[in-house]
Symmetry: C2
Subunit: 340 residues, 2 copies
């Protein structure tokens, strides 16, 4: 059933039916009710392709899914997507996940823009001087950055969590507990969020006059394996580190294993604070010992980003959208005073 059929059925013009369904004011309420009733009776829904062509808006937002990088971000991606889709569930807006080869992202964006496939994009995992921002700005493609690209001066919308503050507080807390040799396993070090965490870590050490030992700093992917390997190497050093910061819960699982493998006990011999993006299937609170974390829900961030994108579509200036979310420090059993 198409608009024309529905209009004929009702003895009305397509114009009136279209306006009735789209809430235009110049339609008699009685007529509108008739139209609405008939539409639902016939199960009529506007053909989205036709609507998109006529309005010039695709009614979709794009979420690039980096095929390689998803190897790092696997569990994060689905929670993030859930957040976005949860917020968009009752807006007629599609979420289009677009596979991207990390090295030729910009050409893909050009194609997306030229074919008017999506109205806006969600950008994730920026580097400090992210080229994508200039490219998208030039293309006139609205976007919202999840994270920050601090060296880029072009005004743009972003939402980020306070990685620096979170890791500074976590590190300070460990220092308060008497730890001085604190190992840090962050994420991929070309990404801004990892740089920010590193900065928070170093800042806290510097504030207390403690040296930074580059031999206790590692980066890499958010996998249990990477956590395990790095932690194992760190634990072989003498004197041993007495505390760990882990960039993700996956990393933390690996670190945890390395600690046990070294015959040490987490929360007594060694402390750990991990960053928790809040996965429903991996709860820091339920671990044994329960895990102290810097916490920020990536799902909530996704939902808020969808919200902000909606606002942008309604005209809100992207240059005014800057949200920096606090990161909670949640202390549990995996952190304890250093034992002499």
């Amino acid at each position: 059933m198409k608009l024309k059929d529905l209009a004929n059925e009702l003895g009305l013009s397509q114009t009136t039916v279209s306006r009735a369904l789209n809430g235009f004011p110049e339609v008699n309420e009685e007529t509108r009710a008739r139209v609405a009733e008939a539409a639902s009776r016939f199960g009529y829904r506007a053909n989205v392709s036709a609507r998109r062509l006529a309005t010039g808006r695709s009614g979709a937002i794009g979420v690039p899914l980096p095929l390689q990088r998803s190897l790092h971000f696997g569990p994060h991606t689905s929670e993030f997507l859930s957040g976005i889709s949860e917020r968009l569930a009752h807006h007629e807006i599609d979420i289009v996940v677009t596979p991207i080869d990390a090295d030729d992202e910009i050409p893909v964006f050009k194609r997306l823009a030229a074919s008017k496939r999506v109205d806006a994009l969600v950008l994730s995992a920026p580097t400090p001087n992210d080229q994508r921002i200039a490219a998208l700005t030039e293309l006139g493609m609205p976007f919202l950055l999840h994270g920050r690209a601090e060296e880029v001066t072009i005004p743009h919308a972003w939402l980020d969590i306070d990685n620096e503050g979170g890791f500074r507080r976590a590190t300070s807390h460990l220092i308060d507990l008497g730890h001085t040799r604190i190992a840090m396993i962050s994420g991929p070090l070309d990404q801004t969020f990892a740089i920010h965490r590193d900065r928070g870590y170093r800042g806290a050490l510097a504030a207390r006059g403690l040296p930074v030992d580059p031999g206790l700093i590692g980066g890499g992917r958010f996998t249990d394996e990477n956590g395990f390997r790095l932690a194992q190497a760190f634990l072989e050093r003498r004197p041993r580190p007495t505390a760990f910061l882990a960039g993700s819960m996956m990393t933390a699982l690996g670190v945890f294993r390395a600690i046990r493998a070294a015959g040490l006990e987490l929360g007594k011999d060694v402390s750990m604070i991990a960053h928790d993006d809040v996965f429903p299937y991996l709860n820091a609170d339920n671990m044994v010992p329960s895990m102290s974390t810097t916490r920020s829900s990536i799902r909530a961030a996704g939902a808020r980003i969808a919200d902000l994108l909606l606002q942008m579509q309604e005209g809100k200036d992207p240059a005014t959208i800057h949200e920096l979310w606090p990161v909670e420090l949640v202390l549990r059993e995996s952190t304890g005073p250093v034992i002499g």
Copy 2:
């Protein structure tokens, strides 16, 4: 730049340009080359909405993302999506993730179909008598089922892994090692795959004349927490179970913790085989002890499903698409002979 502009630029008709770009045979090769060159020079891309309207195909497949159920399937979802998108990366086909409230799925499908938003759907996590199959068939919406709905007689395409066989072999192997009290922590028991696993487990026990102890069977969500709680309860029983089957790696992490918390050692005092969907960030091989698993890559399944959907679009009869993938049994250190 639109088709008309490009045609004018070249001094050709829209028809010819369109045909040249879409690979129709009745275009002079020289002309085609000229068109291709100009198109890439101007960065021309067909407006997808217009194309979709003209062709009547949306060029998109839908992947429902159940908002609540994603709580169970979190990490699986992103790997599955990665598989799909990896396969579709170089086909101009969008992947539209559609948020779904588990209880009103079918109305959403109706809307999707009526508005011609997607050409086909991927259905996940079926129940034995899944209503969605009849609904989609009636709507004329092609779909591919990831899993099986064994009580449904309507012909339809599906791809599943041999959950029953995998768990039967895993259970048999544990019995071979001398285990007789084998706890089973499966998934949500209304879902076919969980039923199949249960059947494999029971079948193996029955084949060796061993009784099924309902007190050693649990279901529920794929979270570490659920695994921990159930395993802890099972381990309090006397005589204690000496082996565990876990429905997912997340569950296995919880079971592992419960085993340690009970002062037991995995791979010696207690054995475990977990189902591994192959997550790049959580490697069974790297665990300590390394985890014996029933293994089947959910990412590969996603890729294959995308492949089959493409074939369906080219006319392949869905009723002929039935793929049952074997599940590997990978033995590592978490399984060992029962110690008297």
